[in-house]
Symmetry: C2
Subunit: 126 residues, 2 copies
């Protein structure tokens, strides 16, 4: 081991953590759970491949999304992230319906208001 | 090869497709792309482990969600499914805001309506 402790990935995989380690910037040694999660769901080799295919400035975001996705899969092994998508899609549908009802109500009240005014105005004119 | 062609997974992994193949019920030979997707993102070994940890009646749903998730990751290597979740969360926030505005408008019109009626009614009584 050098001056720095190996990153969480190299520690778990029991390998030397070199200066060019693809995982080190995103999986610090003090947060072993984060790498364990993505390793369990995607496999270290796949994560490494995915990161290598991305430009450096996008890798931190990719790691965050992979950790989120892996967490969702561990919490819900059947649906993972797709469960959250499905729940949100239902919520969007319900909100669209509620909004349409509210907008129809506004239209309806405005029409009633105009009709009421039209029927009352002649009386107030005389 | 037996009477049946090997499933898409065994074909890609170049292995014998036995009667107890964990992949065969979900990855038919005529749809090789489906397995190639989950293999690329999760790895065949992880997919096999995930399926084995689930009761048989939940495996088809798990495969569908894994295929969906893998497809999202291939289309968007940085955010994958999490991009869709983020988009849907924004949509939910916007719809909630629009709904709140519409409901406030309904309340406001109702109050105006009551005020208008209250000021006109005395005139119509005489």
């Amino acid at each position: 081991m050098g001056a720095n402790p190996p990153c969480a990935s190299c520690k778990l995989l029991r390998r030397r953590c070199g200066k060019d380690c693809i995982f080190a910037p995103y999986f610090p040694s003090d947060d072993p759970h984060k790498f364990a999660l993505v390793h369990k769901v995607f496999g270290a080799s796949n994560v490494s491949k995915m990161l290598l295919e991305l430009p450096v400035h996008q890798r931190a975001d990719a790691v965050s999304s992979l950790v989120f996705e892996a967490g969702a899969r561990v919490r819900d092994p059947v649906y993972g992230c797709v469960g959250a998508i499905s729940h949100l899609q239902n919520q969007v549908s319900q909100l669209k319906m509620q909004l349409a009802v509210a907008q129809a109500e506004i239209l309806c009240i405005r029409m009633q208001q105009e009709e009421a005014l039209a029927s009352l105005l002649p009386l107030t004119c005389f």
